[in-house]
């Protein structure tokens, strides 16, 4: 049966690429999210240790398994028409063009395209984009949540404020603080560029603001009086660490409002990776925590595309990270701290926000859970203490910051969660985006020349060419285009509609078997402006 083979092909492939957090815990965690997320056993590539396996394995797994079988044996059910496929792919797409002002003050960023394709229900990835209003520069980030979406949601709302505040000069901080104090209107700090589906929590807004205010008050107090140049790298690191610290503190302190109290706990007990880019003129900083990735698309002189990685994955594939972890803990833990390519045999990313289970002491965890709401108490996952948990913290949110000075040949930056990178090679990603953005998708033009070609032959040829190109013409958004390829590419690197249709029509509970949440931001740079910067020097 050809169809099932094809359907299971990605599964096999994905298994080989085995990564990700031991998400089996999700099923115990369902009431933490709006609807029950569920990851079938087969996709989890979870630790084979029998004890944990029985402990974590979802109760319904046998059922799921048979469901999968049944599904595989009736393959012809799912056919989406091209417009249906498009409406699914485009549901979350968003584009922003930096407005131009008469040639003056032109940004080095032309704009960005972003999009998300959920595999989890609800999606656990988040994205953010904003322009700094009190300083120059633009912030863009992708956040991959695990054990629910609470943490990635909180980080997506809050992190940019922490970064923006870290970047603000002392006087501006004072001005803002004074405005708060005297009840005047506040200086706006960020101009958000949001898709309608990107929401902010109304309930926690006040709480988040207070934490942020405490942060800038500390910054004001720490100021020594001498106006020092603000270092972007330092600001990014401080912002990341501070936010993670606040998440942790809020969960320890709790909140009198029971909803909020539960929320801050959910945020702290779930986790999120973050990959954030800050672009200001030709200065590009990428701060990365976890296994999302920032990839620069560089166009060589001959027009070809090459990929430059601007972030390091923090996972078992990164030897330096493994080294770091081993150094941070006593020698006798060397074998247990990274096990089965996971942190303590459980967690795939080696750095993350939240995840207090890997940060707090056992005492603290127990205390918080006991005093916490019943939902938390009843939850097997939160109560579970990781094995070999001797010298916490095992996890940090501290980012690794890379700096890159933009050159005219640097055309775009792709920020994406691991959902993209595990299905596509970085070189392919850059080539597809590059060709899409420059319109290079046009194949070589046809010329009849001296050949004897009939109208019928020519028509056949042209129809074929158009079919090839249609995938490009369907997308107005580079991120959508990339997702189309990531999900729909066949062995030859061309979008196969049949495959695309099957992948997108997978039932909610099966989708996670074949693909992860994918979130992509493609930032396009303004080569003219970048070139002008270069010439100025």
């Amino acid at each position: 049966m050809p169809a099932p083979t094809q359907l299971f092909f990605p599964l096999i492939r994905n298994c080989e690429l085995s990564r990700i957090y031991g998400t089996a815990c999700y099923c115990h965690h369902k009431h933490l999210c709006c609807s029950p997320p569920y990851i079938p056993q087969s996709r989890l590539r979870y630790t084979p240790h029998p004890t944990y396996a029985t402990f974590y394995r979802p109760k319904e797994s046998w059922w799921q398994y048979t469901q999968g079988r049944r599904y595989a044996s009736t393959p012809q059910k799912f056919y989406l028409t091209p417009p249906q496929v498009n409406s699914i792919l485009k549901a979350n797409e968003y584009s922003f063009k930096v407005p131009e002002f008469d040639g003056k003050n032109v940004s080095s960023v032309l704009g960005f395209d972003s999009n998300q394709l959920p595999a989890n229900a609800p999606i656990e990835d988040r994205r953010s984009a904003a322009t700094c209003l009190q300083t120059r520069g633009m912030l863009l980030g992708v956040f991959d949540g695990h054990a629910g979406c609470a943490c990635s949601q909180a980080v997506s709302e809050r992190l940019f404020y922490y970064i923006a505040v870290s970047l603000l000069p002392h006087e501006t901080l004072l001005e803002i603080e004074n405005a708060v104090e005297s009840g005047r209107a506040l200086l706006p700090i960020l101009q958000w560029h949001k898709h309608p589906n990107d929401y902010f929590s109304k309930e926690a807004s006040k709480l988040y603001f207070n934490s942020l205010r405490t942060y800038w008050q500390e910054l004001i107090d720490l100021n020594t009086g001498e106006s020092t140049e603000i270092d972007v790298k330092e600001a990014l690191i401080n912002a990341f660490k501070r936010l993670d610290n606040d998440i942790s503190l809020e969960a320890q302190v709790g909140d009198p409002n029971s909803f909020l109290n539960y929320l801050v706990l959910r945020v702290a007990f779930s986790g999120a990776t973050a990959c954030v880019a800050h672009v200001d003129g030709v200065d590009l900083h990428v701060a990365n925590t976890g296994d999302s990735r920032a990839m620069l698309g560089v166009q060589e002189e001959d027009g070809s595309w090459s990929a430059v990685t601007l972030s390091n994955d923090h996972n078992a594939q990164n030897e330096r990270e493994v080294e770091r972890l081993k150094l941070e803990h006593p020698k006798n833990e060397a074998k247990s701290v990274v096990k089965q390519d996971r942190l303590l045999g459980l967690l795939m990313p080696f750095r993350a926000f939240g995840d207090v289970k890997f940060k707090w002491s056992i005492d603290l965890q127990k205390r918080v859970i006991e005093s916490g709401p019943d939902q938390l108490n009843d939850n097997e996952y939160t109560k579970f203490i990781p094995p070999n948990y001797y010298t916490p913290p095992y996890l940090t949110a501290e980012p690794e910051v890379t700096y890159h000075r933009l050159r005219p040949q640097d055309k775009f930056l792709v920020l994406a969660t691991d959902g993209l990178w595990e299905t596509m090679h970085r070189q392919d990603v850059v080539r597809i985006v590059g060709e899409y953005l420059t319109g290079m998708h046009h194949q070589q033009p046809i010329a009849v020349g001296g050949y004897r070609v009939t109208l019928g032959q020519m028509h056949g040829l042209l129809t074929e060419r158009r079919a090839k190109m249609s995938s490009v013409f369907e997308d107005q958004n580079a991120a959508t285009h990339l997702i189309r390829h990531a999900v729909g590419n066949n062995e030859f690197g061309a979008v196969d509609h049949e495959r695309l249709s099957k992948m997108l029509s997978l039932p909610e509970e099966l989708a996670r078997m074949y693909r992860d949440d994918i979130t992509i931001i493609v930032v396009q740079f303004n080569s003219h402006v970048v070139g002008a910067y270069q010439n100025q020097e």
Binding site: A447, L455, T463
Partner: protein, 878 residues
């Protein structure tokens, strides 16, 4: 001078048409021209050796002008003319275009005989296919109009189409139009023949000579500067095709010629094994966006795709159109369409895909006439892919224009002065032509608006009105409200509301009209052209008395409706002039008169620093308060009595409205309804509008648009310039003798013509027709240009039409002629002649009975008396 030229033409030709592309390059004889020095001066210098330039030269020399020089930057007939598909088609939407094409057809037909040069003229006829009923309606409308100007054509069935053309797939057709006298011809050879005939008449032709710029002194052409030296001249004709825009800009005082090129593709095939007969008809499949003609036993087929590729936006000025890239992928939809229409073509071999840029204009009509800013600077360009069809006729009209001062037909629709500098932005042109090119084959339905290049000029109230549901149309770049969609109403999408029948806004406009009749409405009419003429002494009055046909020496505060006539007594403009003071006048003209009227006034106004003409269009927002309650609204806002005793009709006064002072209030509405026009300095516009709306609320005020205005004015038999009136219609022909000061013993332009006309009688008469047996819901709606039949005889065409909501009938305005039954000569039209006829209006081939009226229906003028106006005297017997 023309020896070299003739030698080019007389070279042996074993093959026809296209194959001489290569041979045309071997200009050994043309090289001779290099050695010849340019003349130092000439009467006329024509730029461009394509079909337009040679046609103008041909006609000018025919009319007896000598001393004409034609300059071509490359070789003769080497631009678009060389690549032209060679189809001559008379089926055009405008009557003037039909006439030009018809004349071209006749001219080219006899050209070979006249010059001895083979032009490849073959009368093939053409067939226009209709895949939909709407397309067939469109064809039927053209068919009716072609027939009445003497061009044979008929609507035929698909079966007949198959008989006429053996290769066509006719299964998806609902009908077609056959025009048997259309032809194919080699356009390059036509241009060469015209050039040859012109040079025999003394026109000097120089190729490989580029014009750098045109020299102008005091607004008058004095000569041209070329790369080979200067030529002094009185007239310059810009026939530079795609380069006309750039050439116009190269002047010190730029001449704005808005046109832009798009790539255009057509396909050439090798011959069939059994070649097609040379007289196989040309096919136009507009729904499939393609045309097909036979070409040397094979096929030539091109089209106007939905996604055109504009080029040369930056003004890349290469000498000739080099062979541009063939783009097969771009041509694919047209090729599919072609193979669907002629499936047997599959096996035919491709010879070439030709890419030949064509020029397009912002409104799909060509550009001809004199520049408004530079006297003696004439233009003929922007042919929208119909250069060959129009070439002969357009050249003739332009030559007449130069020789006589005006062409023999009204060409306002094509006049360069319909455009101003505001249409000359490169971005605008680039965007607009991308809409225009597909439009060539799109269905043209009534009240169609361009979608690109919008929101350029707007009233300060634009956003306010837009938020209240205004739907917009554009005139001369200005956004005007058509009607206001109530919040609860959903109109069809643009595509779907394209109809030849009752439109979806019918009820909306009805309620606006009703409100105008019973309460009060506001229409933003800021787009109207507004001039102020002031002087220190009586100069303003004197010049205006000479330029305008009505007596303007009226008491201060009075408004006069008057025409601005030409020597023939025809309307150059129809306007309202208010006398603001002894020495200053405020003039209101139609929107599209901004350039034309200005040029006309400037032409006649003496150089006098004490006489000032100012364009104040942008300074005033105009609100039209229409309806019986306008009086109440205005008196409440101004605390001044506005009743007819205090504020008589056609009266103008500056007063305060709300807080704003200095509002020009005029008691006229352009519709015949009671009400006022408010001319408001723009900074007060929002205030006055808000005040009017809030005070008006208790009188039932609402916004209205131009469709309501149009219905009101046509119902009242108010003719508008540009639609009903043109340069060939006189006041006497539209019953406006009372607006002419013939008996005052004053001279004015056109007086002699009018006096003569008064004595001899008029040869046509503007008449109002009320359609009798027309079902508004089910029948096709009239638009304009429908033939009028009197006792079964064709007597003229309608000029505008609207549904009269009060009469509950369709009303058409149109001119009635009296053609002699024997000779076809025009005879005098009397009131009796009009009144004694039985009339029918032909809408797309279907005739509807109509009542003819020379005067408006009087019952419309007796306004409903308001209840609180009833007084005792009403009970008196009269």
């Amino acid at each position: 001078m023309f020896y070299w030229l003739l030698s080019v033409i007389r070279r042996p030709r074993s093959s026809r048409g296209w194959q001489k592309w290569s041979s045309a390059r071997s200009g050994a004889s043309a090289a001779k021209a290099h050695s010849v020095a340019l003349p130092a001066q000439a009467q006329v210098v024509i730029c461009g050796g394509g079909i337009m330039g040679t046609s103008v030269a041909y006609h000018l020399s025919k009319m007896g002008w000598k001393d004409i020089v034609l300059l071509e930057q490359g070789r003769l007939a080497a631009g678009s003319t060389r690549f032209c598909a060679g189809i001559l088609s008379t089926a055009r939407h405008l009557t003037i275009e039909q006439k030009m094409a018809d004349y071209s057809n006749k001219l080219y037909h006899q050209l070979e005989q006249e010059t001895g040069i083979h032009t490849g003229y073959i009368r093939t006829g053409s067939i226009f296919l209709a895949q939909t009923q709407d397309r067939l309606i469109s064809l039927k409308r053209i068919n009716s109009r072609l027939n009445v100007i003497g061009i044979p054509s008929e609507i035929i069935s698909p079966k007949k189409v198959a008989e006429l053309h053996p290769l066509l797939n006719v299964h998806d057709l609902v009908g077609a139009m056959h025009v048997p006298e259309d032809a194919v011809v080699s356009s390059a050879d036509v241009a060469l023949a015209l050039a040859s005939a012109a040079s025999q008449n003394g026109v000097q032709i120089y190729d490989r000579t580029s014009i750098l710029h045109v020299m102008v002194r005091k607004g008058q052409v004095t000569g041209v500067e070329t790369d080979k030296g200067q030529i002094q001249c009185h007239y310059f004709v810009n026939c530079a095709g795609q380069w006309a825009y750039e050439l116009g800009l190269s002047n010190e005082e730029p001449v704005s010629i808005p046109l832009h090129a798009c790539e255009h593709f057509y396909l050439l095939t090798r011959p069939w094994e059994t070649p097609l007969q040379s007289n196989t008809p040309t096919i136009v499949d507009a729904d499939g966006r393609i045309y097909i003609r036979n070409w040397q036993g094979g096929i030539l087929s091109g089209g106007f795709e939905k996604n055109p590729k504009p080029i040369f936006t930056e003004g890349k000025n290469q000498l000739e159109i080099q062979n541009l890239q063939e783009d097969w992928d771009h041509f694919e939809p047209l090729l599919s369409s072609l193979l669907r229409r002629m499936p047997e073509l599959e096996t035919l071999e491709i010879m070439k895909l030709v890419n030949c840029p064509e020029t397009f204009t912002p409104d799909m009509r060509c550009i001809m006439g004199e520049s408004p800013s530079v006297r003696g600077y004439f233009v003929l360009a922007g042919m929208n892919s119909a250069g060959l069809s129009f070439g002969g006729g357009a050249g003739r009209y332009l030559a007449e224009w130069m020789v006589h001062g005006y062409p023999s037909e009204s060409v306002w629709e094509l006049d360069l002065k319909r455009f101003g500098a505001l249409q000359s932005s490169r971005t605008f042109l680039r965007h607009r032509v991308m809409e225009v090119m597909p439009l060539l084959y799109d269905l043209k339905v009534p009240r169609w608006d361009f979608q690109t290049g919008r929101q350029l000029r707007t009233s300060p109230l634009y956003d306010r009105l837009d938020a209240q549901g205004a739907r917009w149309m554009e005139k001369h770049g200005f956004e005007r409200p058509k009607y206001f969609v109530p919040p609860d109403k959903d109109l069809l999408a643009l595509e779907q509301s394209k109809t030849f029948y009752k439109p979806d806004w019918f009820e909306i406009v009805e309620s606006e009209v009703k409100c105008c009749k019973e309460a009060v409405c506001v229409i933003d009419m800021s787009s109207f052209t507004k001039f102020e003429i002031t002087s220190t002494g009586d100069q303003a009055l004197e010049i205006l008395q000479y330029l305008f046909s009505n007596d303007l020496d009226v008491p201060v505060g009075h408004i006069v409706h008057t025409g601005m006539l030409n020597e023939g007594g025809g309307y150059e403009n129809d306007c309202s002039i208010a006398r603001l003071s002894k020495r200053s006048f405020f003039m209101i003209s139609p929107t599209d008169q901004q350039v034309h009227c200005w040029a006309w006034l400037k032409k006649y106004m003496p150089e006098d620093s004490n006489l000032i003409l100012e364009d104040v269009t942008w300074k005033y927002t105009a609100l039209n308060l229409i309806g019986p309650r306008a009086v109440d609204v205005l008196s409440e806002l101004s605390y001044a009595p506005m009743t007819p005793e205090h504020f008589p009709s056609l009266f103008c006064k500056e007063m305060s409205v709300g807080y704003a002072n200095g509002i020009r209030v005029m008691s006229m509405t352009h519709t015949g309804e009671p009400g006022f026009m408010l001319y408001i300095p723009i900074e007060y516009a929002l205030h006055v509008y808000n005040e009017v709306m809030s005070v008006g609320q208790k009188y039932g005020i609402r916004n209205a648009g131009y469709y309501a205005l149009r219905s009101l004015r046509i119902e009242k038999f108010f003719a508008f310039w540009g639609q009903d009136l043109n340069t060939l219609t006189t006041p006497l022909e539209c019953g406006r003798e009372s607006r002419v000061k013939l008996d005052k013993g004053m001279d004015f332009i056109g007086r002699d013509a009018l006096l003569q006309q008064k004595q001899n009688g008029v040869y046509k008469r503007l008449t109002m027709f009320i359609l009798d047996d027309h079902d508004t819901d089910l029948d096709l709606w009239p638009w304009w240009g429908e033939p009028i039949y009197r006792n079964g005889q064709y007597v003229g065409k309608t000029t505008s039409s609207a549904y009269g909501y009060t009469l509950e009938r369709h009303v058409c305005l149109g001119f009635v002629h009296n053609f002699s039954e024997d000779t076809g000569e025009e005879q005098v039209v009397t009131a009796d002649f009009i009144n004694r006829g039985e009339y029918e209006i032909d809408i797309a081939g279907q005739r509807f009975q109509a009542k003819a009226k020379l005067y408006p229906v009087t019952s419309l003028f007796t306004h409903k008396r308001r209840k609180d106006d009833v007084e005792l005297s009403d009970l008196h017997g009269k």
